[in-house]
């Protein structure tokens, strides 16, 4: 057995040894150990170094509030995490633990020179220096400061684990499975109420795990616990351990992080590492207990100086003596019991040093019975020992005077400054806190949530008080849910109630200005730092915290906030509530990013929408581009082709014979109803009344600010039925906007809107041979200019499939868009592909579509317009129904700046040197001006164009439509390109090619 393991104590199984390494050295612990308890069992206290001074540190606590004993933990490749609390990490076989923030070794750390120069590194010192000479900041000081940052090292490999997330709905959620939580669960689990009890620890029980001496209703505490857990399970209570309630969100939504594998030696395949639960609870009981406060004195941070309650936990729960010759230093009764427990387990308690002049006689009797010296009315002024405490210096205090010091040899100092309620989750609710003068602490006040506090987090102390309060609160929440319940009263023996006083930093006979009396251990914030901050004018706790970094370490102030507040309020001479308590923020304890991300990783980060034809494109070598959530075929390169070559070939095919394009991503909305035409008139800028049945029109949609929002071809398939198409990215926005106007501005209109984007697969056929290919496949209409002219639409049958056929063109060639029920998309595509072989049919992607439309001057909303462009700016005044009394955007586009001279207008550009412009390049009139230049527009689209014989571009240019033929300049980094302003239509301005 390890040197400090006490046989017969604790809940660990020493019969099941578990081996692990710490800084490469092999140790053996017991099943049920944490890394901290296992190392302590070997007498190892030194587990880390502090942030600023690199002081040697050991665990000061036994739970999740631990600020010092932070280690790196590793399980093979990819599974490393820094800053793991050794007091939380359960032992597993083969665990590799490493210490942090030290060089070259934990015992000899060069960074500890900071400790010697600590007077220089006072609170906020960096605000006062490193400013001269100025250029040294960037080159010398900052890199130096940055190099010192951080504790552990970041992981550097991709995480092979996966993470889960779940919803959970319950009537009552109880956070904390200590005595009050257990009793609350039992009382609330009535009449079918669904109760969930969660605890961050590996097992339920809370303080009961550290207090086996008590008996509850005649049973020893641990027996009672075991039977109570069985009873709770039988009552249907869901008990979740290793589950931390991380945050309390609106309307009783609680985030729980459940840790599933980090404690396991063998992880079953496919087990998520952690699972995030989003719980929605009818009522919440917060039974999170209280946290013990350290005492603030010089040297209170040496390895071996530890919270008394934590020492008790290490003994009673883990069977580990944290020291064989401890001194207890306290201002609260509870630490006396720690002394008794350690003494009873074989430790030689050197003394109990109490800051109070008087304590209850029973405590003195018990101490005497064990032969422990009690020193009342004493302070501690120092400790010594380099890597482990070896003695403590204590002085009597009489009437405020600190007397002569005496030194007590020891191997541990167990301290207690009393307890402070754990109100973190309560604070997340924006609950108010009320200062309690008697307890010198904040207690819960009002909260907007349906939430009650039970047990020690409300102030009561002792097992009986916690049990009884928990039962009462459990019954109360059941009653709030309409169930009749009553809390029972528990009979507890050997309970350890008690009280104490709250102190600021301990009085000393030495200069307090030189004391290293730590308040925030990890960040090395001392009492004198806090007082310095106050001296420098920091008057709110928020300022003090930020100036000193007190409470900003990875324990998030669990150890330091209340001590910091007491010292700051003393320095300010103001009551604590006047100084304020910094708000607790979620998460309660540091929580893996992976748990937040859950399933949303890799392919599942966001859905990828694919059309029915996507698989064909993939099989045929398409390169894809993301467009919104869709992936679209960008181009179809053949062997040896780059993008330009592929696009050039695809463009030629469309212009010369026939191309086909998957247009299924286009948004589609069906506008139906007796008032459909009126709705369309009000919604779109164009007039719709005269659009004949079976005809289509290009529609332009503006916002009420007068700027273009979307566009698309709209077909009238019935007197009261419009088939509206939108841009790919704009479909959902347009639908929402239509619904908004329909439901809230024009509820009188009898119109129904249905999004049909995913109901249809849409194939565009473009090219001189488009009609020839399609005609034999279409039933019910002849594809002639007479029977089915350009801008016609029809419901018919294509290749035996029910179809909506549109004769439209986004390329300037004869064009059709065939819509068939979505699942038939690939079948139709393959039929057309096969039938089109005789015409050399070519599949093309979005890039070719973009080139072809640009050659015709058709805009892409979002590329050639950007949310600041009116229809007139885009040269589409023709699409505005000026005689309509109103439409969305009509008033907006009449605003002064939208009708002012000199607006940027869409034009074409041809470069004089026949080079291709870069999209986004800026345009100037005067190429010779100095920077900053007066920019008059930018290139919105630019492509190589075989059809034109030189690259083309579209651009927004100030007053552009009145500047046809003028030369503008595009200054690039290496040269300036001259270009001529042209019409936006580069190919076939007379539209002769649209004729069959």
């Amino acid at each position: 057995m390890s040197q400090y393991r006490v046989s017969g104590r604790g809940r660990v199984d020493t019969g099941k040894p578990v081996s692990f390494t710490f800084d490469g050295k092999r140790y053996t612990g017991a099943a049920g150990d944490t890394v901290a308890s296992a190392l302590l069992a070997h007498g190892v206290h030194l587990m880390g170094r502090s942030f600023k001074y690199h002081r040697p540190r050991g665990p000061v606590a036994a739970g999740s509030e631990e600020p010092n004993a932070l280690i790196g933990t590793r399980r093979g490749p990819g599974r490393f995490e820094p800053n793991t609390r050794a007091t939380v990490q359960e032992l597993r076989e083969g665990l590799e633990a490493t210490s942090q923030n030290k060089y070259p070794s934990l015992k000899w750390d060069i960074g500890a020179v900071n400790d010697a120069a600590y007077m220089l590194f006072s609170a906020g010192f960096y605000y006062k220096t490193f400013m001269w000479p100025k250029n040294f900041w960037h080159k010398v000081y900052e890199p130096f400061i940055r190099a010192a940052a951080g504790l552990g090292v970041a992981p550097c490999e991709e995480d092979p684990d996966h993470y889960a997330s779940r919803y959970l709905h319950c009537d009552v959620l109880i956070v904390g499975a200590g005595p009050s939580g257990l009793a609350a669960a039992r009382a609330a689990a009535v009449d079918g109420l669904k109760v969930v009890l969660v605890d961050e620890n590996a097992e339920a029980g809370g303080t009961l795990l550290s207090e086996p001496q008590a008996t509850i209703d005649g049973q020893p505490a641990w027996d009672w616990l075991a039977s109570e857990l069985e009873a709770l399970k039988a009552a249907g209570v869901k008990i979740m351990t290793r589950t931390t309630a991380i945050g309390y969100y609106h309307q009783n939504m609680i985030g729980l992080c459940e840790r599933l594998t980090d404690h396991l030696t063998d992880v079953p395949a496919d087990t998520p590492r952690e699972r995030m639960w989003r719980v929605r609870a009818g009522q919440v009981v917060l039974a999170q207990g209280a946290l013990e406060k350290p005492l603030v004195f010089h040297g209170n941070d040496r390895p071996g100086v530890m919270l008394a309650g934590s020492a008790q936990t290490f003994l009673n729960r883990y069977g580990v003596l944290v020291g064989k010759r401890p001194v207890v230093l306290t201002s609260h009764d509870s630490a006396w019991y720690a002394a008794f427990d350690l003494a009873d387990a074989g430790a030689k308690v050197q003394a109990i040093v109490d800051l109070r002049d008087h304590v209850h006689v029973d405590l003195l009797t018990e101490a005497q019975r064990r032969g422990i010296t009690a020193k009342l009315g004493y302070t501690a002024s120092a400790t010594s020992g380099r890597l482990r405490v070896s003695s403590i210096r204590v002085n009597p205090v009489k009437g405020g005077d600190v007397g002569t010091a005496e030194r007590i040899e020891c191997d541990a100092v167990l301290m207690s400054g009393g307890w402070t309620p754990s109100l973190h989750l309560f604070s997340h609710t924006k609950g108010t806190l009320a200062w309690d003068d008697d307890l010198t602490t904040f207690l819960p006040g009002k909260t907007p949530e349906d939430c009650v506090i039970a047990g020690a987090s409300r102030g009561p102390w002792g097992i009986a008080a916690a049990l009884n309060d928990g039962a009462e609160k459990g019954a109360a929440v059941a009653a709030a849910l309409g169930k009749s319940a009553s809390g029972k009263t528990f009979a507890v023996e050997a309970d350890r109630t008690g009280s104490g006083i709250t102190v600021k930093e301990l009085p000393t006979d030495r200069s307090p200005g030189k004391a290293k009396a730590f308040v925030d251990y990890q960040n090395d914030v001392t009492a004198k730092d806090l007082r310095l901050a106050v001296r420098e004018g920091m008057r709110s706790i928020e300022h003090v915290k930020r100036y000193t970094t007190n409470g900003m370490a990875t324990d998030q102030g669990k150890m330091s906030n209340i001590n910091g507040l007491n010292i700051a309020s003393d320095a300010l001479g103001k009551a604590q509530p006047k100084v304020g308590l910094t708000t607790f923020r979620p998460p309660y304890t540091p929580t893996s990013f992976g748990a937040f991300a859950g399933y949303h990783r890799g392919e599942h980060f966001e859905v990828t929408r694919k059309t029915q034809i996507d698989s064909w494109a993939e099989e045929n070598g398409a390169v894809f581009e993301p467009v919104g959530q869709w992936r679209r075929a960008w181009y179809f390169p053949q062997a040896g082709e780059d993008m330009d070559a592929a696009v050039g070939r695809e463009c030629r095919a469309v212009r010369e014979t026939l191309g086909m394009f998957d247009a299924s991503t286009l948004g589609k909305i069906e506008v139906v109803g007796p008032d459909a035409v009126e709705f369309m008139n009000r919604m779109y800028t164009n007039p719709w009344t005269k659009l004949a049945l079976g005809r289509c029109r290009y529609g332009l949609l503006c916002g009420d600010d007068g700027y273009i929002r979307d566009d698309g071809v709209i077909g009238r398939l019935g007197q009261d039925l419009f088939h509206v198409t939108t841009t790919t990215g704009g479909a959902a926005r347009v639908m929402n906007m239509m619904e908004d106007y329909l439901q809230t501005e024009w509820p009188d209109l009898n119109v129904w809107l249905t999004s049909t984007t995913e109901q249809w697969s849409t194939i565009a056929l473009n090219g001189p041979n488009a009609a020839k290919l399609l005609a034999p496949l279409v039933e019910g209409i002849e594809l002639t200019d007479e029977a089915f002219p350009h801008m016609s639409c029809l419901e018919c049958t294509v290749a035996g499939m029910p179809a909506r056929l549109f004769r439209v063109s986004f390329t300037g060639e004869i064009g059709f868009e065939v819509n068939v029920p979505a699942p038939m998309g690939r079948k139709l595509w393959e039929k057309l592909w096969e039938a089109g072989q005789q015409y050399g049919i070519t599949a093309y992607g979005t890039e070719t579509m973009h080139v072809l439309r640009a050659e015709k001057g058709y805009i892409i909303v979002g590329q050639d317009t950007d949310g600041t462009v009116t229809p007139y700016d885009a040269g589409m005044g023709w699409a505005v129904g000026k005689s309509k009394p109103d439409f969305v955007g009509k008033r907006g586009m009449a605003r002064p700046d939208l009708v002012a001279e000199g607006r940027k207008q869409l034009v074409g550009l041809l470069t004089e040197d026949r080079s291709k412009l870069e999209e986004g390049a800026q345009i100037v009139f005067d190429a010779d001006q100095p920077v900053p230049m007066k920019m008059v527009g930018h290139v919105t689209s630019a492509y190589h164009s075989d059809a034109v014989g030189q690259p083309i571009a579209l651009a927004l240019v100030e007053g552009g439509q009145g500047r046809m033929g003028e030369t503008v300049h595009i200054p690039m980094p290496d040269r300036t390109i001259a270009a001529t302003i042209t019409s936006t239509v580069f190919v076939d301005p007379e539209n002769t090619r649209l004729k069959i």
């Binding site: 609106h250 924006k430 009420d704 929402n736 619904e739 439901q743 509820p747 009394p885 008033r891």
Partner: protein, 100 residues
Amino acid sequence: MLLIHCPYCDETLPEAEFTYAGQAHVVRAQDPSSQDDGQWEDFLFMRENARGPHYERWRHFHGCGRFFNAVRDTVSDKFLTTYKAGDARPDLSSLLEGQE
């Protein structure tokens, strides 16, 4: 995540089903062309941005699809009530009474 009562579905459901749609009772004039620039600016952009009870619109986007109105306290984020689009603006004082 808020819980929101849809007055059309008459169910209280998580915020994930809803989209926020800005201040409620912003009236689009019957004849916008008769509005001067200031009035149109008010309609487009000017908002109460109330600190406290706020009349606002939500849409039950992933449900019935309906837009409806709500009164929510923007300090506590608590809903005082929700009501159908077109219903009269509820009286605030009676709503607040119901809140203790």
